[in-house]
Amino acid sequence: MKTKNAFVDKKMLTRAIRDSFVKLNPKTQLDNPVMFLVYVSAILTTGLWIFSLFGLKDAPSSYTLAIAIILWFTCLFANFAEAIAEGRGKAQADSLRAAKKDVEAYRIASIDRKDQITTVSSSILKKGDLVLVKAGQQIPGDGEVIEGAASVDESAITGESAPVIREAGGDRSAVTGGTMVLSDWIVVQITSEAGQSFLDKMIAMVEGAARKKTPNEIALQIFLIALSIIFILVTMSLYTYSIFSAKQAGIDNPTSVTTLVALLVCLAPTTIGALLSAIGIAGMSRLNQANVLAMSGRAIEAAGDVDILMLDKTGTITLGNRQATAFIPVDGVSEQELADAAQLSSLADETPEGRSVVILAKEKFNIRERNLTDQKMNFIPFTAKTRMSGVDYAGNEIRKGAAQAIREYIENAGGVYSEQCDQIVQEIARVGGTPLVVAKNHQVLGVIHLKDIIKQGVQEKFADLRKMGIKTIMITGDNPMTAAAIAAEAGVDDFLAEATPEGKLSMIRDFQAKGHLVAMTGDGTNDAPALAQADVAVAMNTGTQAAKEAGNMVDLDSSPTKLIDIVRIGKQLLMTRGSLTTFSIANDVAKYFAIIPALFTGLYPGLAAMNIMGLHSPQSAVLSAIIYNALIIVALIPLALKGVKYREVPAGKLLSSNLFVYGLGGFIAPFIFVKLIDMLLVAFGLA
């Protein structure tokens, strides 16, 4: 899904221009009340122009025509902004659709009857159906691998070309329809009906079709509609005031309906109105570009509000893998004996830690890999519950795991836990290392010292987050002492040690009860409850189907640091809306100063003193203001798409700098540009 970084390409531009006209459909226009007002105004002035051709007029025909044309362009510019924002998503959707073609699926009745294959179209697959997917075949729908293991090419959705392993059981069992099996075979149980698959959702999301207005957007729209209503009343009452004042002065009414319509459009918050949906779509699109798929726009906004980040230690704070650096034997056990047991118990351990133990054993004592099948070894895999792994062979039982887990394991078996080991464990933990205790036949042999390496630059990142009021919580399976040491080194605000899924869930609930909004990432099925509870829950794409369904975003890269990017994008989205609203409203001051004095100088010559821009004539003033009003939309499209500049500073600082740029800027800019346009109009003899 990674697209080219080019801001817009030619194809997108052509499509956007075409769409700008398609969007003139009144039904589409009604979705955006502020722009609908401009739309109606454009129709009205066009009507006035047609009437004026038959002599029914209160302003010169050419002037009315000019206003009508500019108003139509204003509508088109707004449509264009939306179309160009959608363009990127549409391009992505096109490539996704290519992946989503109907394929033949080998449906089977049960795992035991893999030979009885019914060939059906992927579009008629139902939830619960079992399909066999062989090398070279496309996976026909979202599902869970229930048998087999295979390498899968998921580049169609992630953009990542390196194949990934998908296998039954564990946390890597989820497969996505539209991806390709490269080697081996798997049996997949379908988990979604046709049309509701992940790919379908993804297409709808990136295209913006499923985009619902978020609460913030609705609240802003209420505000903009209210302003528009006020301005409708302002212009309508101005018409009667003008008649009243002109009658009192005994002159003709100086205002025409055309001018008042122009004034209305100038005053209405058209800048933000025109760009509002583009900002929302662009925010979503930026998230897509970060290879994160949000299941709703609401989730992105919530990301902006998050003030607690629960970050997994591994991969986010520390460089993914802890490395075994020393074997420390206890109670008279030799180092080699310990290394031997450690190596044995780690042979089947595919985790980086496990591998580093094997490597260390090889380096130190030249202990080679053994033939696993020979010795009838029974490997005990690590689970979150036991927090131990190990091996049973030839009557021996070797276990390695966290000190707490091994102690329970030994004491449950009636053994005595080594005192010396306890000291070493504490010593290692104190310096921030991870002690891994190895026991053989319920007796401690010694401790493996695993070292964590803190990622570069994380401290600065967390300090910045803290300045913004975001607390970082490190989640780790380590014991409290180890966790504390790493937490202190990395500069996180708090940590959850010896984390269990239940522990995470209750921590989230506690924070939420105190009024915080919590974001977390997760991948395992046991993360699902916590993911469902968190306000922003990012599921790893490599994770299980349950995790993906519980989360409200999916990170296609499965990168633990993504959470920080997501918060940034969420904040930027809201900031862009707020800043452009401020800009839009601040613009009105100058527009008043352009139009009102120009209109009424005939009635009250003294008002000429308020024509501080020195605009040429009433007509040139109105035209300049309304041309500015249309052009500013185009000028701000890049900003709407890219989002306003985001910095990690406290709220107060952010506010004052944005106010300075968009408030003061919005106040001053139109004075300059309206004057310039007026000078140009006069120079070209257009007014």
């Binding site: 009343l233 009667t240 004042s245 009102i596 009424f600 009250y604 506010l655 004052s656 944005n658 106010l659």
Partner: protein
């Protein structure tokens, strides 16, 4: 110059010094806590509950609270309306006044239940004593109490977490009247009586004039007349004026003025005991009474800011809102004061008239009382239009164009610069919600105010609360400008005539009640349209405020972090002022350009 400035400073300092302790006292009353007056007053309160059958522990949800407000005001309206229609056959009518016309009765009834006290009737010659006493005066208390009660409900909305109840309207109204309005008015009345404001039950007096005057048949005073009282002849320039009348006695109204003036000021009502309100020497005889009356206008509205802060256990918040209002007030006073002091070049007549400050008030003294001068008149004008009081001690119609414009603008922003008792602050809090919404978006967070998230529901009602006044004024004045009979109500024409029209609708749309003198508003169209304006401007914001309160009470409180936008610092105060001004300015710039601004610039030419 220095002395003049010090006068303004003194007025403002006096206000702050009194408002702070009163704010703390009101907070106790709101929560039903013990005060130094509880011993005497709480038994009265309990008695009222017993008689009226009020459950003092009731917790109303916002709908029930709102319905109670509407029923309460509705009963007041019907009573007042019928009372006026029937006053001709009711006792307490020694002057034998007829029943009031339906349109005027309607307008007056609305005017008093909405705390506006717009007086379309001609003072003493329209309403009987009974109507004044049991109708208007009672409503002066009740409408003021209603406004404060609604504010209490809103404050509770901010405080409560995941709750439904906002307190009981009946309890709030009873407590406000018994614990706040009655004691305060006793004190203010006594001070006013001490200062020489009349307080008696005598009939009107007649006193002999020091020097008789002569008037022509149509009531015009004959200047430089040579009057011979014994022969009953009047000569002007040696010519005998046949139908001239000699006046030797003056009609002096009497009555319980001080007590009514007290609630007129403290309840931001503003309906004067005398026709010319507090410009009358018996209603406001001296600089001392002027200070008491003027300060009373803003006393409760200012105190409520501190009540708000202390009830929230966030005193800074109260101070921040107060500061925003105070800055606006000071700027308004400065604008009016400077404009009035400078006068206009037309007044100075190229130096032929001395309008300087030396040994005199100087400036534009037209329509102002000599005993008050520029500073007291300007301060009063700002106070009375900042609060939705509407009483006057000088005629705003005669202010300079810019001075008059500021009074109009203060009303047009929705009476939130202190504003009416209770309603000013809840209006301002609605503006605060708009402010945090914009500001919150700009820092990339869902806006929140005092720990409560601001979502579409709050925005919808906050926008309505803030924009009702501008909408009512624009629609009302826009229609009125098209009605030919309205032009005939104007005493001036051109830009100033338009200002009179705009002022009338601004005053009713802001529930203020003051008028640009000379505008005859007692016509069917104006009575009904201004009546509607007052009604909408009062009750739409009340319902909106209660809806917000109800919804906020249901929400949980969000934790404060460094990412939370401070709503107590200078930046927030600045933004709040800007939002209030922008809404006011954007809504009324064209109207003001055709009225006071046109007049101002024409004067310069």
């Amino acid at each position: 110059m220095f002395a003049t400035v010090m006068q303004y400073v003194l007025y403002l300092a006096f206000l702050i010094v009194l408002a702070i302790p009163l704010g703390a006292y009101i907070k106790k009353v709101m929560n039903g806590e013990k005060t130094f007056l509880s011993k005497i007053l709480t038994p009265c309160e309990t008695a009222v509950y017993k008689v009226m059958g009020v459950d003092s522990e009731e917790q109303m949800n916002w709908k029930k609270y709102a319905i109670s407000v509407l029923i309460f005001s509705g009963i007041g309206f019907v009573f007042l309306f019928v009372l006026q229609l029937l006053q001709g056959v009711l006792p307490g009518n020694p002057q034998h006044l007829k029943g009031v016309n339906w349109d005027l009765a309607l307008n007056t009834a609305i005017s008093f239940i909405t705390n506006t006290n717009w007086q379309a009737y001609a003072g003493e010659s329209t309403l009987s004593y009974l109507t004044q006493a049991v109708g208007l005066t009672v409503q002066n208390f009740l409408s003021a109490a209603t406004g404060i009660a609604v504010l209490f409900a809103l404050i509770r909305g901010f405080i409560k977490v995941k709750a439904d109840g906002l307190g009981s309207f009946w309890v709030d109204v009873t407590r406000i009247i018994i614990h706040i309005l009655l004691p305060l008015n006793v004190v203010v009345s006594l001070l006013l009586v001490g200062g020489g404001v009349i307080q008696n039950f005598d009939g009107a007096n007649s006193v002999a004039l020091v020097e008789p005057i002569a008037v022509s048949q149509d009531g015009e005073i004959l200047e430089d007349a040579d009057i011979n009282v014994s022969s009953n002849t009047v000569k002007v320039d040696g010519q005998v004026i046949e139908d001239a009348k000699i006046v030797t006695e003056q009609f002096v109204p009497m009555g319980p003025a001080a007590s009514q003036v007290a609630i007129k000021m403290t309840g931001t009502n503003g309906g004067g005991f005398m026709g010319v309100n507090s410009a009358h020497p018996l209603e406001n005889p001296s600089a001392f009474t002027n200070l008491i009356e003027m300060t009373s206008i803003l006393l409760i509205p200012a105190a409520l800011c501190f009540t708000f802060g202390s009830a929230l256990k966030n005193k800074k918040q109260g101070v921040a809102i107060f500061t925003a209002m105070f800055i606006c007030l000071v700027v308004a006073i400065a604008c009016i004061g400077v404009s009035e002091q400078a006068g206009t070049q037309q007044l100075a007549q190229n130096g032929a008239v001395n309008i300087s400050l030396v040994d005199q008030a100087g400036g534009n003294m037209e329509g102002k009382e000599a005993r008050f001068g520029i500073a007291s008149s300007s301060t009063w004008a700002a106070y009375t239009t900042a609060a939705s009081n509407g009483s006057v001690n000088a005629m705003h119609d005669s202010f300079t164009p810019l001075g008059g414009m500021v009074t109009m603008l203060l009303m047009q922003v929705g009476e939130v610069i202190f504003g009416g008792v209770g309603c000013g602050l809840y209006g301002m809090l609605a503006f605060a919600i708009l402010t945090v919404f914009i500001a919150g978006l700009m820092v990339g967070r869902t806006p929140e105010f005092l720990g409560k998230k601001i979502e579409p529901y709050e925005m919808k009602w906050a926008v309505l609360v803030c924009l009702t006044t501008p909408i009512v004024i624009l629609v009302g004045s826009g229609i009125a400008a098209m009605i030919p009979e309205v032009s005939e109500s104007l005493t001036n024409h051109g830009a100033h005539g338009f200002s009179e029209l705009l002022y009338a609708f601004s005053s009713c749309g802001g529930n203020n009640g003051s008028a640009f003198a000379g505008f005859n508003s007692n016509t069917v169209f104006l009575n009904v349209s201004l009546g509607l304006a007052m009604l909408i401007a009062r009750f739409v914001p009340i319902v909106g405020t209660l809806a917000i309160a109800g919804n906020l009470a249901k929400k949980k409180k969000i934790a404060t972090t460094a990412g939370t936008l401070s709503t107590t610092n200078g930046m927030f105060i600045f933004l709040l002022i800007v939002v209030v001004l922008i809404v006011g300015a954007l809504s009324f710039f064209p109207a003001l350009a055709l009225g006071p601004l046109a007049e101002f610039f024409s004067n310069l030419m």
